[in-house]
Amino acid sequence: MSVIHYREIEGGSLGFWALVALLAAFVAAGLTAAWFMEHIGHIITGMTNQVVWGMPHVFAVFLIVAASGALNVASIASVFGKVAYKPLARLSGLLAVALLIGGLAILVLDLGRPDRLVVAMTHYNFRSIFAWNIFLYTGFVAVTGFYLWVMMERRLNGYSRMVGTAAFLWRLILTTGTGSIFGFLVARQPYDEAIMAPMFIVMSFAFGLAIFLLVLMAACKGTGRPLGNATLMRLKNLLGVFAAGVLYFLLAFHITKLYEAEFRGAEAFLLLNGGIYTLLFWCGAVFLGGVLPMLLFWLPQTRRSRAAVGWGSASVVVGGLALMYDIIIGGQAWPLSIFPGMQVSSSFYDGVVNFYAPSLPECALGLGGCALAVLLILLALKLLPFLPESLVDEPVESHSAVAGTSRVPGAT
């Protein structure tokens, strides 16, 4: 049986600390933005009484959705018994926790009263999907943390399948909850579809795996650790399938909407004449998020290229953010239909497409949360052995014990 050697990254180079400093600066900018938003009020953001969720929510929901998807690689190894993915399982779990913490930090700091977090933890309305999500998110961090412990502690390795299955089921429920936040909004025509829950699950598969691939490639390149082509190509093919899955769900979602006359106005806005939202849907979500990665992954000219894997993954991330913006902001830009079939106007912007322009504090908060996630990943990689020493296609047993190395059976 082959043995995987994990080791912390050295993390002593100037480049490493420069990256840490850069990320810390982004985190500090995000915290500063949150401080201003709390003390001055949300008046300094682009959010209004018409578009009540803005840029912070785009980043937060993207990170939360990606977090559950980042756990996929570990799930494939533990739950579905694919040994080839086992060396990557720890990194997968780490990414899941870090991305979720980054997303939650944004969400909490965007609250009108972030100081009342303790209220949110002590007062529950169990009819609210939001209240359930508080449990699902914190529980996911706990379950995945435990899963990581089981994977990293040799004596507990035998439980990895059981705990991995629990984490896998938890993540499915979690993303169902996130999608349902929008799917349950019956009053807003651009939402109000049960398919949003499974659509978010498939989106999480794609976004999470894309970020996983980018981190894996960057970490291996930065630390000089070999990364086998077979591993990379296998993951790349999987990402291509997930990207196609997102396109399929988008197609099913919009066809369902188009079939119902009451939704056609909203659909025409989002798909045809919605300006930035139409552009983001077709060029961002469809082309960058789905078509381009599939071309890069599977065209004969690029299918073996490692650079294409990187560019394709980055394209999925950019397309994912565009899709999230389209769903969250575009969905609110379309006015509520309080008087169906009638033309309406009022001093409260009834009947008009709502304007939204993200402000600097919002972007700083969103990017700060992303930076926090990457910073956590970086520091965790330096402190604990998450990354294998080698990811060559055929892992071979090392004969020399290395300080700080933990040895874990390759297949458990």
Binding site: N49, F130, F339
Partner: protein, 270 residues
């Protein structure tokens, strides 16, 4: 001589351990210190409680004349849109004035009630309609609120508990009537009976302090006084009430009736 006249067991107890000093002096000092401490604490407690006691007294001064929040009642509003004129904003002005919110035309400004101009593009039929919280029996804002800050009283009035609202705005996403506003900046000129808070969500309270005091909401009063008498307020559960009698004889609709929210606000002439 015994100058010490203990007035409590505590003074006596303190007098016992004299440690060789004269018994007639030490208990007196101890008792004086005790008295001062007692007076200090009493003063501090008085200062701390006075505002609260005053508030309680204030609250009692405007005590409800009838039983508040009884499930036997369902407060409702009937708006006769045939009487509501597009140029009239008496209800909006009264609400703003009574509850202390201001609309200066910015998209971040709150509007607890607004006039919506509605017209049928195919026929030209038009109406001017006041829209506010519809006080739904199955209120989506109550369903989605994670902390329970959005709640429905037993008498059907939907409110926001500003003490536990965390400002997540999920209720604003869920409300089909755009009846909720978020307070985006510092406030001034608040009314004691309509507390508001930066970072929390707010909306029409159906003027609950007035209703509990046996009065009608400010918009209804203004509509009767300065407008065209288009609003009828009353108990939807009481078959003898004016609102129930009007609903029994005239067709009235609920906004977005397809959502089956069982609104407390009904519209006639739409």
């Amino acid at each position: 001589m015994n100058p010490v006249k203990p007035h409590s067991g505590r003074c006596e107890a303190q007098a016992a351990p004299s440690f060789g000093m004269h018994n007639s002096v030490l208990p007196e000092v101890a008792c004086d210190q005790d008295r001062r401490r007692f007076l200090g604490i009493a003063g501090a407690v008085t200062l701390a409680l006075a505002p609260g006691v005053s508030l309680i007294a204030y609250a009692h001064s405007d005590a409800p004349k009838s039983d508040a929040a009884s499930a036997k009642r369902r407060w409702g509003l009937l708006i006769d849109t045939t009487k509501c004129k597009p140029s009239c904003t008496a209800c909006v002005t009264a609400c703003s004035s009574y509850n202390g919110w201001k609309n200066e035309g910015r998209p971040t400004d709150p509007q607890w009630i607004r006039k919506v101009q509605v017209s049928d593009p195919s026929t030209g039929f038009s109406r001017s309609v006041p829209v506010m919280c519809q006080h739904c029996a199955n209120a989506p804002c109550v369903e989605v609120c994670p902390t329970g800050a959005s709640f429905k009283r037993a008498d059907g009035i939907v409110l926001v508990d500003r003490h536990i609202c965390i400002g997540c705005r999920f209720c604003m996403m869920a409300c089909p009537y755009k009846a909720r506003s978020f307070v985006s900046e510092n406030l001034s000129g608040q009314k004691p009976w309509a507390p508001r808070g930066k970072g929390t969500v707010e909306g029409c309270t159906l003027c609950v302090p007035r209703v509990d005091a046996g009065k009608v909401p400010a918009c209804v009063e203004a509509c009767a006084r300065d407008g065209n008498g288009a609003m009828t307020f009353g108990d939807l559960s009481d078959a003898a009430s004016a609102i129930r009698r009007a609903l029994a004889h005239h067709p009235a609709v609920q906004l977005r009736a397809d959502l089956m929210l069982d609104t407390g606000v009904r519209y006639e002439g739409l």
